[in-house]
């Protein structure tokens, strides 16, 4: 109803007035409620996701002539422990390339030998020099700083810097340090550096280590966890806020962790300021040749940086990243950041590809790569999964590499097999096909010695190899096996609980085991025993192999009426078990013998198939060296299959998991006939 504009106002009746007051009150409550909701929402939005211990404001200048970065850092470090901190420890990763006696270069067996090249030595070596550290009181801390070597006695290694403080940091207090430093950028090494005019800046600034108070992870007393840089293994850092102003030549395109908050021209240069909250590291890249392509997924702006010749990979990258985001949101948790940058390095920056940093991942492609070779998909998915297992669940990648790489490989398999097909998610070209999960399994099993090490070791303790295969592949395999044993629902609950409980913290392996030991008995009672420690003892703390086989099948014909002497005194015949109607009919006594060839003991299902098409699913605890299943009936056993659903994916050899009485002629024929045609064709090629 529309009100008359000039109609005289009527006096309101008392009833009308009461109604009016009531409506006003209701409206006031509503407004109040609405304001409260807004307030809570706003507070929630601004509430830090992480403890924000190490916060950096940095101004950095990229000197492309000298391949250097000059930096000024304002570090805000918070002491969240109950200890008084008298010194800080910093990682100076670039010093790994300062001399060939550094721990990194001494224990790196397959590291490029570019550092031995004399003529370009100056261009290729790298270092990081802290020039000034000043606290709020104006104390110059440089005078007392020294390099320390917590992992070995290598006094040539300068990758960890200890800075004694003039004013100790009391519990729950912060310290603000002004640091000036200069980095000489390496010619791409360990996934950082430059080549030509391509710059990929990772581990490029003095980064404070993690102070672990007593009870945190494995710390018995408060201590710095700040390892030297090793050629095998990655990083460990605290959460914080980064605001970095990157000063580069004006024609350079910059990609970075976080969100671009400001861009400012300064003569022939440009300053790009990025900000990101609640992350453990900050990485950026710059090149004049980058082509930028963008898309969005829900609240996330996705930015792809490629060289022009790789721009056509955008559709593959965007599809892959959106699939990964969707899957991880469903099965792990929300991706809380506003941005994600994917960097596809140029060919001369090959070695910077396939790496994960907070809100920035690097992948890899070649312009001649066919659609069926899914390297970009695999790397993008893998590196994005690290946003969860490395970034939000900020495990110690050096001490427990399986916790980031193993979980990531496990989810890489789940995601890629889900979206790209179980048999085609890694390779699907020219008739050759391979799924991601099976590819990772094969990588582990193809090792010369899959028993080379257990997974319970620091990354540089894989002295004779096995770091990749054990920390990545074997962990993914046993996680998949755990999924097979406890079921996908329970596994999903375990992962979700692990994420919810430990996100933005530093979980350790035991924290994950504890969650498994909590969820599995809750969902399955004592089906798998009191807890799952027996499983971890074998697959994680142990290095043994799992291998079960069907040793034999025997079907012996017996007469249904064949009896046996049941009573020695009266000498009566007792009828054998069987069908009373089948007088004189043949029965078969069948026996299946299974072996445990490996040392690992896992519970199994065994499917026994009879000639009438019926099957029996038996269970075996898998503990004895051998076992048997016996049957008497009208039907012979035709075949037996251990673990028909491949729940025990860690089994070393699926070929001996089954056995049929009849020779599988069709399969044999297929292979030899196919190979024969190939040989015939090959014979005609060179004639």
């Amino acid at each position: 109803m529309k009100e008359e504009p000039f109609a005289p106002k009527k006096e309101k009746s008392q009833k009308e007035r009461q109604v009016c007051i009531f409506v006003h009150q209701i409206m006031r409550y509503f407004i109040l409620l609405w304001l409260m909701i807004l307030c809570i929402k706003g507070m929630a939005q601004n509430a830090p996701l992480s403890p924000r211990i190490a916060n950096y404001e940095m101004d950095v200048f990229l000197d492309v002539e000298n391949k250097q970065v000059q930096g000024e850092t304002l570090l805000d470090w918070k002491n969240t422990s109950t200890d008084t901190i008298t010194s800080l420890q910093f990682h100076l990763y670039y010093n790994a390339f300062k001399n060939n006696e550094s721990t990194f270069l001494k224990d790196g067996t397959d590291f490029p030998d570019f550092l031995e090249s004399q003529e370009s030595a100056c261009e290729r070596w790298a270092w990081m020099e802290v020039q000034k550290i000043m606290d709020e009181q104006g104390n110059d801390l440089v005078v007392n700083m020294r390099y320390i070597h917590p992992d070995d006695d290598n006094d040539k290694d300068e990758t960890v810097l200890e800075v004694p403080l003039t004013t100790p940091v009391l519990p729950n207090q912060s310290i603000r340090l002004q640091m000036d430093w200069l980095s000489k950028i390496p010619n791409i090494a360990a996934r950082t550096g430059y080549n030509k005019d391509y710059y990929f800046m990772a581990q490029w600034f003095p980064k404070v280590g993690v102070y672990e108070s007593a009870g945190m992870r494995y710390a018995e007393k408060g201590q710095w966890n700040c390892h030297q840089y090793h050629s095998s293994g990655e990083y460990y850092a605290d959460f914080g806020v980064y605001e970095v102003a990157i000063n580069v030549p004006g024609n350079f395109v910059v990609g970075s962790s976080g969100t671009l908050i400001n861009q400012q021209e300064e003569g022939d240069r440009k300053i790009h300021t990025y900000r990101v909250e609640d992350v453990i590291d900050f990485t950026w890249t710059a090149s004049p040749h980058y082509v930028v392509q963008e898309t969005t997924w829900k609240h996330v702006s996705i930015r792809l940086l490629t060289y022009p010749e790789h721009r056509h990979f955008a559709s593959r990258y965007f599809k892959t990243i959106k699939n990964a985001m969707e899957y991880l949101e469903k099965y792990v948790g929300e991706y809380p950041y506003e941005t994600l940058t994917i960097v596809d390095p140029p060919i001369h920056g090959l070695f910077t590809g396939g790496m994960e940093y907070p809100t920035l991942v690097s992948s890899l492609s070649f312009c001649f790569l066919p659609v069926g070779i899914k390297t970009p998909e695999t790397l993008t998915t893998h590196e994005f999964v690290h946003q969860y297992f490395m970034q939000m669940l900020a495990t110690n990648e050096q001490e427990e590499p399986w916790m980031d790489e193993g979980f990531t490989t496990y989810f890489e398999g789940r995601i890629l097999d889900h979206y790209e097909g179980e048999k085609t998610s890694t390779i699907d070209t020219w008739g050759i096909k391979a799924g991601n999960v099976e590819f990772n399994r094969a990588e582990f099993l193809a090792m010369d010695n899959p028993k080379i090490a257990d997974a319970n070791r620091w990354s540089w303790e894989y002295v004779h190899g096995g770091y990749g295969e054990i920390a990545y592949n074997k962990t993914a395999l046993w996680l998949r096996t755990l999924e097979g044993i406890v079921g996908i629902e329970t596994m999903n609950e375990i992962i979700k609980t692990y994420f919810d409980r430990w996100k933005f913290k530093h979980p350790c392996g035991q924290d994950f085991f504890d969650i498994v030991n909590e969820i599995v008995p809750k969902n399955h009672g004592d089906e798998f025993g009191e807890n799952m420690d027996w499983f971890f003892e074998q697959v994680f703390y142990g290095s043994d192999i799992c291998d079960y086989s069907v040793a034999s099948i025997e079907n012996r014909e017996v007469n249904a009426k064949e009896g046996f002497m049941g009573d020695l005194e009266d000498c009566v015949w007792v009828e054998a078990d069987g069908d009373d109607n089948g007088v004189g009919e043949s029965l078969f006594k069948s026996e299946v013998v299974l072996y445990r060839l490996g040392e690992v003991k896992l519970p199994l299902e065994v499917q026994i198939n009879f000639e009438d098409g019926q099957s029996v699913l038996e269970k075996w605890d898998g503990k004895a060296r051998s076992t048997d299943f016996k049957y008497v009936g009208k039907n012979k056993i035709v075949s037996v299959e251990i673990d028909p659903e491949r729940k025990i994916y860690i089994d070393k050899n699926f070929l001996n998991n089954s056995r049929s009485v009849e020779v599988q002629q069709m399969g044999i024929r297929k292979y030899w006939m196919q190979v024969m045609v190939w040989v015939q064709r090959l014979m005609e090629v060179f004639v």
Binding site: F654, N657, V663, R669, E684
Partner: protein, 300 residues
Amino acid sequence: MRFLDAYRMAWKLLWGHKKMWLLLYVCNVLFALVAVLPLQRFLNSELGHSLAIGQSLGDFDYTFLMDVLNEYGGSISLILNQAFVIVGLYWLFSVFLKGGILEKLVGYLKGENEVSFWSGCGKYFFRLFRLAVYFGILQGGLLFLMWMLFQSISGGLSPFELESDRDWVNTFKILMPIYGFLAMVLLMLHDYAKVFVVKLDKTLLFRPIWMTFKTVLGSFVSCLLLYLLNVLTFLVVFGLYYFFQQGMVTTTDAFILLAFLVGQLFVFGRLGVRLLNLGSVVAWQWEQESTKLFNNDRVI
């Protein structure tokens, strides 16, 4: 259109030598059987009772293949090495057979029907073998040259020195057709040289090779068109094979046998094309000589 006449005559030669064609096929099958028999035995004894081999029918089964390589890598590599040795022996044997084939084809056009196939094989074996080695070296040299060219044009093989991987692709796109063409010309020259070895019947190969270059380069377009026609014939045979083999899901015995049969038809067809190729060269030279006798005009 001498090359067309030669091609037509080559079909007649092929049709007239069906037994020889069959003989070539039988030899191919026998050698292949010897090569593949150890595999068949291995599959029977080691994997015959595993359901895995039956479950891996149809599509490419990566897990099955990897488990076989992991568990039986030693045996598999032994079987493969044996197979390669047999392929090598077959190559020698086919050089041996070539002498007989050419003796028969040349004799047929000359109207000499009493030519012995096997004596031709023996007589020309070492000459044709030497010829194959020479042309093998030429092919190797060409490949090496192209490789060097590829490196110098693309900016090297080191990815770290390269501006863009497109440099590799572009260089490859330029050099590949050139290489393909030159390699084809060498193959063509080799075919003509084989015929000259038999026709001229000289122990030393200098003259047959000289004659080859002289003849082929003298009528290059005609020779090339004839060769291309042969290549086209091969492509038709291969296309048919590809068409029938595509989408053949080998999950039933009938399909496995059918796939094998299609494979055999292809090999048979491939051998036919090979005979057709040699026949066309023989016929082309025959045509050329006849033309020269009656008419000195150059025709193509």
